[in-house]
């Protein structure tokens, strides 16, 4: 039998020319050059996962932008940007479903804000009366509070704008929540805060277990011939649920202990005291600095104070990290894509703050007299920068086997 020579190039089965470029299992895109292909968002896995901190910085940037305007069109645009990014880049993890909950919470906030304004009156002077509610007469000592009375279009619109601003802030936080894995975020904490982080992670796995326990015990009541609903059911299963939760925490504590949780290195007392002093002092500085920044008076010393406080606190935490012998397994890296995502959020924030200088009227449409809000071109375009993550962040894989264990 004659063997074919090993070194002969394999002929192509269809008789065509040998393939020159490596075959990629992607959809062929004739217009795409190689540089474009390299820049295109890859499929997300552990290696290229976006740093969870980047998502939070991006979302906080959008939130800062939202806090600078009451223009409903701009706020709507911000919500749309956040929503689009979430839709494009969220996984099928449990926390990813929280976005819808935050949107509902936002709508609820708007409703409450308007309701309060209608029921309790508002200091906004207005001329367009919508309707007259009977005013509840209040005694003299309650002067300044009004229940019922005249309701003007101006006051309702003002409440709407104000509520929409709060709702947008909430929705931005919801977006970060849906996009960033909370456990991985906690893993990025400095070593000195690690033990706090573990406690939070364990608590987070604890809550779903508790909910599952309650559901299981409620259905088990059926087996005793009792109703599964009602307050009586909850009261009766309360104790067993808590008992089960306690037992589980003890089991996890035992497991963590047996696996080396809390092993610590010896640190000289001087270092320990320095750590405490630095951390406490730094945090005090941060508090005082932020207070000064937020109140109008302390303009001059606020930023330096905040800065010094931050540096001291970080030094304290780093020194505190010496006690811990821990190392970290495959921490998320803050790579170029993470920088771009965080940067896009920051850019939106900075441009909006700047826009507050050049177009204050467009950002805060007038309520008295009532005008139709206009969409200012440049602020709107700057908000669209926030869409960048929807194109550069790694794409989560299509829902992999999410078979629930029966």
């Amino acid at each position: 039998m004659s063997q074919p020579p090993v070194d002969r190039p394999h002929p192509r089965l269809d008789g065509g020319a040998p393939i020159a470029e490596p075959a990629e299992p992607t959809v062929p895109d004739p217009s795409a050059g190689t540089w474009w292909r390299a820049l295109r968002a890859p499929e997300a896995d552990r290696r290229n996962a976006l740093h969870p901190g980047a998502w939070w910085l991006w979302a906080l940037g959008l939130a800062t932008a939202a806090s600078r305007t009451t223009n409903p069109l701009l706020l709507g645009l911000l919500v749309a940007v956040a929503g689009y990014v979430v839709a494009a880049r969220r996984t099928d993890a449990p926390w990813a479903r929280s976005y819808a909950a935050f949107v509902k919470l936002g709508l609820f906030v708007i409703a409450v804000r308007v309701l309060f304004s209608v029921a309790l009156g508002s200091p906004i002077p207005g001329t367009h009366t919508l309707l007259l509610l009977p005013e509840v007469p209040l005694p003299d000592w309650a002067r300044g509070i009004r229940v019922g009375g005249r309701i003007t279009a101006e006051q309702v619109v003002f409440a709407l704008y104000d509520g929409a601003k709060l709702a947008t802030l909430l929705i931005c936080v919801g977006a970060a929540n849906a996009l960033a894995n909370p456990a991985r975020l906690l893993k990025s904490l400095p070593g000195a805060l690690y033990e706090v982080g573990v406690a939070v992670v364990v608590a987070m796995t604890f809550a779903p277990n508790l909910v599952a326990d309650i559901a299981r015990l409620r259905t088990a009541r059926r087996l005793r011939g009792r109703r599964t609903g009602g307050i009586g059911a909850i009261a009766q299963i309360g104790l067993p649920v808590l008992e089960g939760a306690l037992e589980r925490s003890i089991a996890i504590a035992a497991s963590m202990d047996a696996r080396g949780y809390g092993r610590s290195a010896q640190v000289p007392p001087a270092v320990r005291h320095t750590t405490t002093a630095l951390t406490l002092g730094g945090l005090l500085g941060v508090c005082a600095g932020s207070y000064a920044l937020l109140t109008a008076e302390g303009g001059s010393y606020a930023l330096p104070l905040l800065f010094i406080g931050l540096i001291t606190a970080v030094a304290g935490l780093r020194l505190g990290g010496r006690r811990s012998v821990r190392t970290r397994y495959r921490p998320d890296r803050f790579g170029p894509r993470s920088w771009c995502v965080a940067g896009s959020g920051a850019a939106v924030a900075v441009l909006m703050i700047w826009a507050g200088g050049y177009a204050p009227d467009a950002l805060h449409p007038s309520v008295v007299p009532l005008v139709v809000p206009a969409l200012p071109l440049w602020p709107a375009l700057s908000i669209l920068i926030g869409l960048l993550p929807a194109f550069i962040a790694p794409v989560p894989p299509l829902s992999q086997s999410t078979k629930e264990s029966a």
Partner: protein, 549 residues
């Protein structure tokens, strides 16, 4: 590797020591199996090795336990973490993180191992345990066998010299148990790890053990020796050993393979006796089934969870007086099927009728007089803080005469005081209490979900006797179980499920004999003859050949 010197352990609220006179050495690189009835202190003994007893549990440890020269009195569990890996019975209680890869790295992170070493070891462990495909999966979505392998892997990454396992295969189906045991074999043979393991399901593990450590009774000195020798004296033993004891083989066979080699003469002696298929007293003839009105019928039943169909096109009927074993791998839909019969799970299509009621719509108080379910965790049924209060509540729930539940408890569980707290009962006693509560309503259909999880052979035998009595009284009994020996002992009919469908349904002897995974040990030893249990063989040998003609 592990030295116990005059060890005794006394817990704070106990009158007498839980463990006493432990004086032995576990050599390096051996797989030592710890054997004993429930409550003899197996878990306590395992706890002393990793230091959780007494550092975590409290109590007083006298004597000295040293592991590779480290004294557990002076070393806390966390300081033994690089030396001893501990895995408990419930892997879910062991996990600290949420994905497989992080879980494998957790122990190494605590020990401060360098990142590149960690990465390499995680990859090695993923390969060693066959977990590479699951590396990014959330742990909660894994099957029981996969979770147990992750739990073992998570302690292996720190390269411990000693592995301590408390019932690693109790909650697993036969195939998943094989997976885990194969891994343990590999560790002992390839890496020289010392393994100390407690397990109730001896039929699965005894042939792998290098030595067996028997705890004969609470507070008694332990015996340690070669498995075959220890099995002659052990109070608990697997069916294959029971068969060997019956046939008088010496040394005792430990595996089906050993026993088959010896069994030629036994097969010959049994050849002319009545095979159980053709009319043993214990198994009711098939004819009785289907003639009486069924207590429950399911037709074209489909159940969905999310979009996945967990049950598909199930057509079944259960008749009074029959005992049915429901088998199949974890996640095959056994618990869901039982859930539909008590209305805990809503069908997507098809009908379920139990005693003329539709379980999902019936009032719970009415339903418990038609069907009763003892759940996988019997504790879910217990709310009160004494046995007496629990019984009174059960009487009220089922509208039964006062005292009926207590009478059942006394029958099933002799010698339990009224004021005992249900939490203080052993696993088997708690199961019996839950069973009594469920039986207070006198339901014609009784369902049990994994009743033998955590039960030793004695408790299992008691449960089998109780269930046989109930079936004889005309109750239909359906048990979902992984325990092939229990199914062989009890069931008239076996249903095998896979992926939400019934793939086999027939008399026990026919179904299990033809299946390598679900055949009990006696069947495997005596194939091609159709014997299921040691007691059947014993009875057949006691009769004279001509009686059976």
């Amino acid at each position: 590797m592990i030295r116990f010197e005059k060890v005794s352990v006394t817990y704070a609220d106990a009158g007498r020591p839980t463990l006493q006179h432990i004086d032995l050495t576990v050599p390096e690189g051996e797989l030592v199996l710890l054997v004993g009835e429930s409550g003899v202190g197996k878990s306590t003994l395992l706890g002393t090795v990793c230091g959780l007893v007494p550092h975590f549990t409290g109590g007083t440890l006298r004597g000295r336990v040293t592991v590779d020269g480290r004294d557990t009195r002076t070393h806390k569990p966390r300081e033994l973490a690089d030396l001893v890996g501990t895995v408990g019975q419930d892997p879910l209680a062991h996990f600290v993180t949420d994905t497989v890869e992080d879980e494998l790295a957790y122990g190494m992170e605590s020990l401060g191992i360098a990142p590149d070493v960690m990465r390499r070891r995680v990859e090695e462990t993923l390969d060693l345990l066959g977990l590479a495909e699951l590396r990014d999966r959330p742990i909660a979505t894994l099957s029981g066998g996969q979770q147990q392998r992750v739990a073992i892997g998570s302690v292996l990454t720190t390269h411990p010299k000693v592995l301590v396992l408390d019932e690693p295969t109790s909650a697993l189906d036969p195939a998943a148990a094989e997976e885990v045991l194969a891994v343990l074999q590999r560790l002992v043979h390839d890496l020289g790890t010392t393994v100390l393991m407690a397990e109730h399901r001896l039929e699965r593990v005894v042939q792998y053990a290098d030595q067996v450590l028997v705890l004969p009774a609470p507070g008694e000195a332990p015996l340690m020796g070669a498995p075959a020798e220890m099995m002659t004296r052990s109070p608990v033993y697997p069916p294959v050993v029971g068969l060997g004891r019956l046939a008088g083989w010496s040394p005792l066979p430990l595996s089906v393979r050993d026993a088959r080699r010896r069994a030629a003469s036994l097969r010959e002696r049994l050849a002319d006796r009545s095979a159980p298929l053709s009319g043993s007293a214990e198994r009711k003839p098939d004819a009785s089934r289907g003639q009486r009105d069924p207590v429950a019928t399911l037709s074209k039943l489909t159940v969905r969870r999310g979009r996945a169909e967990t049950l598909r096109g199930i057509d079944l009927a259960f008749s009074p007086g029959e005992t049915v074993a429901l088998m199949g791998r974890n996640g095959a839909g056994k618990s869901t099927l039982l859930g539909t019969l008590v209305g805990m799970v809503a069908p997507a299509s098809g009908t379920v009728v139990v005693g003329g009621l539709t379980p999902r719509r019936a009032a719970p108080a009415e339903l418990i007089r038609q069907v009763g379910l003892v759940p996988q965790e019997p504790r879910d049924l217990l709310y009160a803080d004494t046995v007496a209060a629990e019984c009174a509540a059960a009487d009220a729930d089922a509208d039964a005469a006062p005292g009926s539940c207590r009478a059942l408890v006394s029958e099933l569980l002799p010698g339990v005081a009224d004021e005992t707290h249900p939490r203080d009962l052993s696993e088997g006693q708690r199961l019996a209490l839950a069973l009594a509560i469920v039986l207070t309503g006198r339901p014609p259909l009784l369902l049990l979900d994994e009743p033998t999880r955590g039960l030793d052979y004695a408790a299992k035998a008691r449960l089998a006797t109780i269930l046989k009595g109930l079936a004889a009284d005309g109750h239909a009994v359906v048990l979902a179980t992984h325990d092939v020996e229990l199914a062989a002992d009890l069931a008239d009919r076996v249903l095998i499920m896979a992926d939400g469908e019934i793939v086999a349904d027939g008399p026990t002897a026919e179904v299990v004999v033809s299946s390598p995974a679900f055949a009990p040990q006696v069947t495997k030893v005596l194939a091609p003859q159709h014997w299921l249990t040691v007691s059947e063989v014993e009875r057949a040998l006691a009769q004279r050949p001509q009686d059976s003609l």
